[in-house]
Symmetry: C2
Subunit: 104 residues, 2 copies
């Protein structure tokens, strides 16, 4: 079972889309920031400030990345990257558990 050790967790959740998307911030000793989150079935749009690597721990979704016109199917075990200062549309098909890393 994968764990993050020696980290700081912000107690309060980030809540988006009436709670259908929620996450909690995990801070690492080296300054890295990740969020661990849940997305319920639905369609959402998120903007990015930093480059993001989204690791899908469980669930099924489709992602429309910036500059692309084809929705990619993503499932548990897959990852995708989103450039900084952009955004993405996402269709959640089954409950998604994810880990998002913010880079740069």
């Amino acid at each position: 079972m994968s764990k993050f050790e020696n980290v700081t967790v912000v107690k309060a959740a980030n809540i988006y889309y009436d709670g259908k998307v929620t996450s909690r911030v995990v801070e690492f000793a080296n300054g890295d920031i990740k969020t661990l989150g849940i997305m319920m079935p639905g369609e959402y749009h998120f903007g990015t400030e930093k480059k993001e690597i989204m690791e899908i721990l469980a669930g099924d979704l489709e992602i429309l990345l910036p500059g692309e016109d084809i929705w990619r199917k993503i499932t548990g075990g897959d990852s995708f990257e989103v450039p900084a200062n952009s955004g993405f549309d996402i269709k959640i098909k089954t409950v998604v558990d994810y880990c998002c890393s913010y880079l740069g």
Copy 2:
């Protein structure tokens, strides 16, 4: 902003009720265990093994504790305790962000 420092976080979420209730385990250096979770509107039942202290960080709910026959209204900032080896029924009225401590 309240944070838990020097903790270990289990990466994968616990997912209940088709994702309407989710939580992540936070392990403390002294062996304490807490979960940080989200409950979407709905009605749920949970059993307990250890005594639990549920701190409601945000949201509104009603709780029926073991041995009681009146639903208590609980809101963000409130806490309630549930005895070990029992269970509780809970009606979530608005998205609830919670921290559960397991004792004993």
